[in-house]
Amino acid sequence: MATIQIQMKKKRVRRENQTALTYLAPALIFLIVFMVYPLIYSGILSFFKWTGVSAKVFIGFENFQRLFTDNYFWRALVNNISVAVSALIFQVFIALVIAFVLVRVMDKVSKVYLFIFLIPMVVSEICIGLLWGFIYNPYFGLINAALRGLGLESLAIGWLGESATAFPAVINAMNFTYLGLYVLLFVNSIQDVPEDIFDAAKIDGAGGIRTFFNVVIPVIRESIGSTMLLAVISSFKTFSLVFVLTNGGPNHRSEVLSTYLYKMGFNSFQMGYASTIGFVQMLLMALAGFIVLYSTSRKNKELA
């Protein structure tokens, strides 16, 4: 009797698994064919010298050795890290302040504000990039026109062409472009904070600034954490704005990993080396993700 029941249960479980897999199959097929398989293939290609048309030549760890002594790779990696740090300060933190003001100080008009802050997020990065290219233009750009208007002719330079200003100029364009997304995410989480918490702060006599630091930040810290993680991940994905504004120039000053990989693979046809850049980049991301997951899970355990 019992064995029949167990058999029936097994049969039912198997049938359920089959149904579940049927529903998941289209998604899994797409993800495996166009994400997982290329990633594994990229790992394999990292060990080859290959122009894309010639035969692949196995060269062991040569690409990796080259990568670790390649100054442009390191500069690109450092630049990606700078993008991430700037995103945390100028996008995430400022967005948090703006969201607080929108939700808690100016509740009525905030919808219009939010609408406008999000415009750069929905327009293509190519349009944004071309537009900022105009703004930074040495001859008729907005910035230089403003400087000349103020009598500061000497400061009017080719922002994207100078090695000192190119990368900060790109980062500045990024900050304006992505700020809105973080404002939106924080508006959502601050709106979810129960009203009585704010009432309690008010009774305690907390002003706006103290409410922000002592109430809002601790209460929504989880959302702040995940948004910071999101900003860091996005910073390592950045491509289009850099590509359009400077394409990594001048002399690799504003290079990021994506533009460097693109150049190696599709301008100088060093497909094997380009794969190595992508593969190492993925390994670094995986390592960073592991550290974040590990530290947060430990923190959660400590709290529990």
Partner: protein
């Protein structure tokens, strides 16, 4: 009760936020009125408003290049990708809800989270090889399929979170009545999540319409280029007439902006639900 009385610090805060807002929107306003100037006017002063709006610039931008062809290509890529992504992610989100008690579902979820962190460029070289092996390089299908794959994880999470708000009893009641699995999915589950499918569709429309990397790398044929890639070529070729270039940029941004203006709620929902996409 919100803080109704406006003290000095709230006024300063509002002013600072408004300045930031103006800085975010000013480039776009400048773009709009500059696109209506003559080239001479633009060279003389980049600030001044046009004496008379030059609607000609838009005709020149549209007729002077292949923006029409690029737009059609973008429309095809967007329509097919969005259609596939919505169906695939609804099916997957449903499975993750219905079979949430299965232990291996956690692994699927972890797998999806990991795929979301993969930057599209990291596997660019092998992707090109994969597409070449499938004879899909330099075709619109070759752009569509990887685009669907990369947008699927975020879309699944949008659908999944909506399914999880539904009462599970609905499904149990239908099962009790003897409805088959496909019938439960199409006749009961899908109608309940139609708004979320719409949100997924709208946010994917914006993502795909603006996508640059895949069409840049996978397409060589000038007749198959999508709008963002074609626009970059167009601007590179027309460096002499700035207002016409700006008109072209405006034409190219219009589609996504109109969708955003009409379906603000869905765009915001999609941006929130699929925030990891970047």
């Amino acid at each position: 009760m919100k803080m109704k009385q406006k003290n000095t610090s709230s006024i300063i805060a509002i002013i600072l936020v408004t300045i930031t807002l103006v800085m975010v929107i000013a480039p776009f306003i400048w773009l709009i009125y500059s696109s209506l100037k003559t080239n001479k006017e633009f060279m003389a002063s980049v600030w001044k408003l046009p004496a008379a709006p030059q609607w000609e610039n838009f005709k020149k931008a549209w007729g002077g290049g292949s923006l029409g062809t690029y737009t059609i290509n973008s429309l095809i890529v967007t329509a097919v990708s969005v259609f596939l992504t919505v169906i695939i992610s609804t099916l997957a989100g449903y499975a993750m809800w219905i079979f949430k008690l299965k232990k291996w579902m956690n692994k699927i979820q972890l797998f999806l989270v990991i795929t979301m962190t993969i930057p599209a460029y990291a596997s660019l070289v092998p992707l090109v090889e994969t597409l070449r092996a499938m004879s899909l390089l330099d075709t619109l299908t070759g752009v569509i399929l990887p685009t669907v794959a990369f947008n699927t994880p975020m879309s699944i999470f949008i659908m999944r979170s909506t399914f999880f708000t539904l009462p599970f009893e609905v499904i149990e009641a239908a099962r009790f009545d003897g409805a088959s699995e496909p019938v439960i999915f199409t006749k009961i589950a899908v109608p309940l999540v139609r708004p979320a499918m719409f949100t997924t569709a709208i946010i994917n429309m914006i993502w795909v319409w603006n996508d640059f990397l895949f069409p840049l790398v996978f397409i060589n044929n000038p007749n198959l280029k999508t709008l963002p890639v074609g626009l970059k070529d167009f601007v590179g070729e027309h460096v002499t007439n700035y207002p016409v270039m700006m008109a072209a940029i405006l034409i190219a941004s219009m589609g996504a902006f109109v969708i955003y203006s009409i379906f603000q709620k869905q765009v915001i929902g999609g941006l929130t639900g699929g925030a990891v996409k970047g």
